[in-house]
């Protein structure tokens, strides 16, 4: 098999991304969909960090070589934090939804006309 390299992380990222997409398409539960979205975002994160770690030489040379390697990691931190904010807002809305209707199935909330 050889040592763990960039390819392995790429495949891991791709698997997580596809699982996230499948989860969003197949689930009705709002929290389940939220988890799938987080899965997609974190799949991208894994890719970002793997590339910023492993690309000693970018496929194309850049004008600012040192900075290019850190970019991905900084971006990943921003993504983590923004995803947490999104999750907090989502959970707050879902909590209210559950308080009022007693369900968090998206389709059920859909058919309930206000």
């Amino acid at each position: 098999m050889g040592p763990i390299g960039l390819q392995h992380y790429l495949v891991l990222g791709a698997i997580l991304f596809v699982l996230g997409v499948i989860g969003i398409v197949s689930r009705k539960n709002a929290v389940g969909i939220l988890i799938s979205i987080e899965l997609m975002l974190n799949a991208a994160n894994i890719n970002l960090i793997a590339f910023s770690r492993y690309s000693n030489k970018p496929i194309f040379p850049t004008t600012m070589p040192e900075a290019a390697y850190m970019d991905g990691q900084v971006f990943a931190i921003f993504v983590i934090i923004l995803a947490a904010c999104e999750a907090a807002v989502a959970l707050a809305i879902i909590l209210n939804l559950f308080n009022m209707f007693g369900t968090i199935e998206v389709d059920d909330a859909d058919t309930m006309r206000g």
Binding site: M40, A44, M64, G72
Partner: protein
């Protein structure tokens, strides 16, 4: 401290929003609410002034500030100022829930922060940051009336779909970063033009495009539009339709060089949106949904101008001085002026349930000022002269013709001809139908009526002097 200066607009707006958020819960009184309104208006004005001031004296065509995160290029700054104007308009025109005034104004200001970051982003990370700040504020604003089930439903629906879209967008960005080794949009542009792109970059740009398509609600990705537009407060609906999409368009202007090679799929998006949006609107009777479908069609028109790119073509036949991007800027201004007013007016009329065409009957007699304003906004949306929407379409389609497109402007003309039917239906129901037994309820304060009137006058005035918008753009 010199390098704080270019970030001053964003800092003022974000700190002001935080300040208002903390002031809101202190006391529950009408005086405080009025104070909060005027102070948020002042903050938006200060931000716009700082934007213009910071921008002054930058010579290079695509200057970078904030360690390469933002650009102060004239077009992007002009876009940011327009979005701030829409925020200011919304602050004045919105009906604020009594107990949550602080949160309402604060979220509007955070929405503005997201828009000006997104509009001036020079870095893929800044694009994502701006987009998420914008989206998270919008989720809260859509679900703001949290005791109403429809409002919560719209909020969670928009949240899940926008999250789905950001997932695609981010994965695309990760692949682009993998191939080019940089997040700077300008560097990506240079590298991509210099070499032939591999399949991985193509997949990356494709995923990026899917994300953008979702946010813009272009036709294959438009399903969420009617539900979300129906259930959010009127003024917020206007913001979703106009400036949140406009900010997205502004952020992706640097990527327009891809149009030549493999973003020709936008052609399909534009054509489908123009046909689909107008056809879907024909059979709808709920007014906000009609305008939601019309907004899908309008995104189609804007994408037509987008396809014309940011360069002047040599063999231009019509209006040769206007590039596609300038036409898009014009249209974003024109569309924002019309759709904000239209959705806000519907918000004043709306009662407890969904507003249908039947509910519009008698509004013309009940509140002639509001009905007249709505007439002007809808007239402009339909693209009939002398309102500003007419010139918007002319500039977009002529730019597309100059760039060598033939079918797309034709489809656009046919689409707008179809669209006139449902716009006229709104006008007919407003003025020419006898009122039902139940009187329509209109809640609009004096300030709101004045704001609507001013906005309607602006729609007509900009239509009479369309050059104003271009001279505004050139002033940066």
């Amino acid at each position: 401290m010199g390098h704080y200066q270019p970030l001053l607009p964003d800092l003022i707006l974000a700190m002001g929003a935080t300040f208002i958020l903390l002031l809101g819960p202190l006391r529950d009184s009408q005086n405080l609410r009025d104070f909060l309104r005027w102070i948020s208006l002042g903050l938006v004005a200060a931000t716009a002034a700082t934007l213009v001031w910071v921008n002054h004296g930058m010579a290079t065509p695509y200057p970078l500030v904030g360690e390469g995160w933002l650009t102060t290029a004239p077009l992007h700054t002009a876009f940011a100022v327009v979005f701030l104007a829409t925020i200011a308009w919304t602050i004045l025109a919105s009906t604020v829930p009594d107990e949550d005034a602080g949160e309402w104004y604060s979220m509007l200001l955070f929405l503005g922060t997201g828009m000006i970051i997104l509009a001036r982003a020079a870095n893929l990370a800044a694009v994502f940051l701006g987009l998420e700040v914008l989206s998270i504020s919008l989720y809260i604003l859509i679900a703001f009336r949290y005791s109403k089930r429809s409002s919560l439903r719209g909020g969670i629906m928009y949240l899940l779909l926008a999250g789905f879209a950001s997932g695609f967008l981010l994965f695309g960005m990760a692949l682009i970063y993998a191939v080019f080794g940089t997040l700077q949009i300008a560097e990506i542009r240079t590298l991509a033009l210099a070499t032939d792109m591999g399949p991985m970059a193509k997949v990356g740009f494709g995923l990026l495009l899917v994300g953008v398509g979702f946010k813009l609600a272009a036709v294959p990705f438009h399903m969420w539009t009617p539900e979300v537009y129906e259930s959010s407060p009127g003024t917020v609906t206007g913001l979703i339709a106009s400036s949140s999409k406009g900010a997205m368009l502004a952020a992706f202007i640097p990527f327009l060089f891809l149009l030549e090679t493999h973003w020709s799929i936008i052609w399909l998006f534009a054509a489908l949106s123009m046909v689909g949006g107008n056809l879907l609107g024909l059979r709808e009777i709920r007014v906000k949904r009609i305008l939601a479908y019309s907004s899908i069609a309008h995104i189609g028109y804007v994408l037509t101008g987008y396809l014309a790119g940011d360069t002047l073509s040599a063999n231009a036949a019509f209006l040769p001085s206007i590039t596609g991007v300038n036409a898009v800027f014009f249209y974003v201004v024109a569309y924002a002026a019309s759709i904000l007013g239209a959705f806000a007016a519907l918000g004043y009329i709306q009662g407890e349930r969904d507003l249908t065409l039947r509910d519009l009957r008698g509004v013309g007699r009940r509140n002639p000022v509001l009905a007249f304003c709505l007439l002007i906004f809808v007239w402009s949306l339909a693209g009939l002269p002398p309102a500003v929407g007419f010139f918007g379409k002319i500039y977009l389609f002529s730019a597309a013709i100059n760039a060598g497109y033939f079918w797309l402007p034709l489809i656009g003309l046919l689409g707008s001809a179809i669209g006139i039917y449902y716009y006229l239906r709104i006008i007919v129901h407003l003025f020419m139908m006898p009122a039902d037994a139940s009187d329509p309820k209109v809640h609009a304060s004096t300030l709101q009526e004045w704001v609507m009137l001013g906005s309607a006058v602006a729609v007509i005035a900009l239509g009479l002097f369309p050059e104003t918008i271009f001279s505004f753009l050139r002033a940066f």
